[in-house]
């Protein structure tokens, strides 16, 4: 492994009964990287995220974040360490306003003093482009705004690593560009990003490095150009 790996996944295995969702997957994400993770449906992408964020426990292998093992740490502890994620199907706190959604993350995952919560929350909402929705009920947002809220709430935990789980699925192409711009901006701010996506155009444009999963195995790892020309990736997506 390299010394500057922010996230180091070593031979992680996850089984659901007899089904092996992740089979000895290893990968490294370096600090500041824009890391793409792709693969057909059911290839184990979301399972991988769940293992990293701690909502699932991996059976084999280990995951290191900044050199320290994550095993046994609860999701909220991992959040405090600096790993944030957004959800594929948005999970806003529906009884709260947009700003209050961020307030939960700021209060629980950061050391923000009570007096700073509003201001810090608004700063994040401005970065994401959701400031004018701050007082609205989170449950009443449009799809694109809910995706943005997912990212904003993840950002409110002040992460070093942001995992974006299909933040663009189902959005129009201008909306996809919108989200991409946000992710680029966050990355420029120093946050390492793992992007999981089906929209190839977005992943290829965004990622500096891509890992391809297929049926729980890693079949490719390289730059976007290398991935596009990889025969095994082609086979996984198009068949033989």
């Amino acid at each position: 492994m390299t010394a500057d790996a922010l996230l180091d996944v070593r031979a992680v295995t996850k089984r659901f009964g007899g089904f092996t969702a992740l089979d000895q997957i290893s990968m490294e994400v370096r600090a500041g990287e824009r890391f793409g993770m792709i693969g057909p449906n059911g290839s184990g992408k979301t399972t991988m995220i769940n293992c990293i964020s701690g909502t699932l426990a991996n059976e084999g292998g280990e995951i290191l974040f900044k050199g320290a093992r994550l095993d046994g740490k609860k999701p909220h502890q991992r959040t405090r360490l600096g790993i944030a994620r957004s959800f594929q199907i948005p999970k806003p706190f529906r009884s709260m306003t947009v700003l209050e959604n961020l307030g939960i993350a700021l209060e629980y995952a950061t050391d923000a003093a009570p007096g700073e919560v509003r201001e810090r929350g608004m700063t994040i909402l401005e970065t994401i482009g959701l400031a004018e929705r701050a007082g609205e009920n989170a449950g009443a947002l449009t799809q694109i705004d809910m995706r943005k809220l997912e990212l904003a709430r993840a950002m409110a935990t002040e992460p070093e690593l942001l995992i974006s789980d299909e933040a663009m699925a189902g959005l129009s192409s201008t909306e996809v560009d919108d989200i991409l711009d946000i992710l680029f901006k966050l990355n420029e701010g120093g946050i390492t990003i793992i992007m999981i996506e089906h929209i190839m155009r977005a992943v290829m444009r965004f990622s500096t490095r891509i890992v391809v999963l297929d049926a729980g195995r890693k079949i490719a790892d390289g730059s976007p150009d290398e991935i596009v020309n990889d025969p095994e990736v082609e086979r996984a997506y198009l068949g033989e």
């Binding site: 964020s53 909502t55 609860k74 999701p75 909220h76 959040t79 405090r80 944030a84 994620r85 959800f87 999970k91 806003p92 706190f93 529906r94 009884s95 709260m96 306003t97 700003l99 209050e100 307030g103 939960i104 993350a105 209060e107 629980y108 995952a109 950061t110 009570p114 919560v117 509003r118 929350g121 608004m122 701050a134 007082g135 709430r153 993840a154 409110a156 935990t157």
Partner: protein, 329 residues
């Protein structure tokens, strides 16, 4: 320099006025003609405590507890056991019952921590039945035949002992509401709300969901136990089927629903309203009518005002939350 101690909120002024009224009403025997008023008011206040306690889990956190009667009865029986053991006075029974039920709540929290929704509700109901069976077979506290606690006839300066118990329950009700109100406005309370809305998202936003759930079950259990502590003294004779009566569980759910489950005010309004209606109906119409009233009122509110009375009021009056943006509304 600001003096925060002098900043009395409307809540505490109201609480003080209510306490003073309670003292006046009991000492000067305003209802001397008929002590049943105190007897009935005690029940209403007891429901304020139970509904408020239930709401900490059910309303704030979205975990529906069907075992209120179990907690209430364990609180009552803990007092009986302590009385049999050392002839403890009421002042000792109340904290003792509270602690016993807090531990019970903690245990329930641990045992059910993987259960959600309907499964959690069924587990709590089952727990109440298990507890009832245990008490039924525990001779030390009377078993199936029940137990007596002999109470004083009078308690100076309140006069009749029931008047004294009424005043004690009044203090407990204020205590319960104050605890719920404080929790609701704390970081913990906001965490409860996040759990209610989405537990996985809450955990990933940094909320220690397990710890918060255990806090809720423990505090809620404590308050339910406290409500049950004076029960044996109040009725004079306690037996399992009355202490474990399902009506406690049903009312503890119905009252916050009717009042509005997301704030401390909801269970208070719901309990005062529904509790009083039940007491009046018991005297004027029939004691069997209670459950029917609960049912009809509940159906009415679920259809007309799903967010309860407080939800209706919210349309005109909305409390300011400190992290709402300044220009909001």
């Amino acid at each position: 320099m600001r003096m925060p101690a002098l900043k009395l909120s409307a809540f505490w002024i109201c609480a003080a006025v209510v306490v003073l009224l309670g003292i006046a009403v009991t000492i000067f025997d305003v209802f001397a003609i008929n002590t049943f008023i105190y007897f009935a008011a005690y029940v209403v206040l007891q429901y304020v405590v139970l509904a408020t306690a239930w709401n900490i889990m059910g309303g704030y956190m979205g975990y529906v507890n069907f075992g209120t009667a179990g907690f209430f009865a364990v609180g009552a029986y803990a007092s009986v056991a302590l009385y049999n053991l050392i002839q403890a006075p009421l002042a000792l029974m109340i904290p003792f019952s509270g602690v016993v039920c807090a531990l019970l709540g903690l245990a329930m929290g641990y045992l059910t921590l993987r259960l959600r929704g309907v499964f959690f509700a069924i587990a709590t109901l089952a727990m109440a039945i298990v507890l009832e069976t245990m008490i039924l077979n525990w001779d030390y506290v009377g078993g199936a035949t029940g137990a007596y606690i002999l109470r004083e006839r009078e308690m100076a300066p309140f006069g009749d002992y029931v008047e004294f118990l009424f005043f004690v329950m009044l203090l407990l009700a204020i205590f319960a509401v104050a605890v719920a109100r404080w929790l609701e406005r704390s970081k913990t309370g906001r965490g409860f709300g996040a759990i209610r809305d989405d537990e996985v998202a809450a955990e990933c936003a940094g909320v220690p969901t397990l710890r918060l759930k255990l806090i809720a079950t423990t505090v809620s259990g404590f308050l339910m136990g406290v409500a049950g502590a004076p029960f044996a003294l109040y009725v004079g004779f306690i037996e399992p089927s009355s202490a474990f009566n399902l009506i406690y569980a049903v009312n503890a759910i119905a009252m916050p629903m009717i009042g509005g489950a997301t704030t401390w005010l909801g269970p208070l309004i719901g309990a005062l309203l529904l509790g009083t209606v039940q007491q009046v109906a018991t005297v004027t119409i029939s004691s069997e009518l209670n459950l029917l009233i609960v049912g009809v009122v509940l159906v009415f509110f679920v259809i007309v005002a799903p967010e309860g009375i407080v939800g209706l009021l919210r349309k005109w009056w909305r409390p300011r939350k400190w992290w709402r943006p300044r220009n909001d509304r």
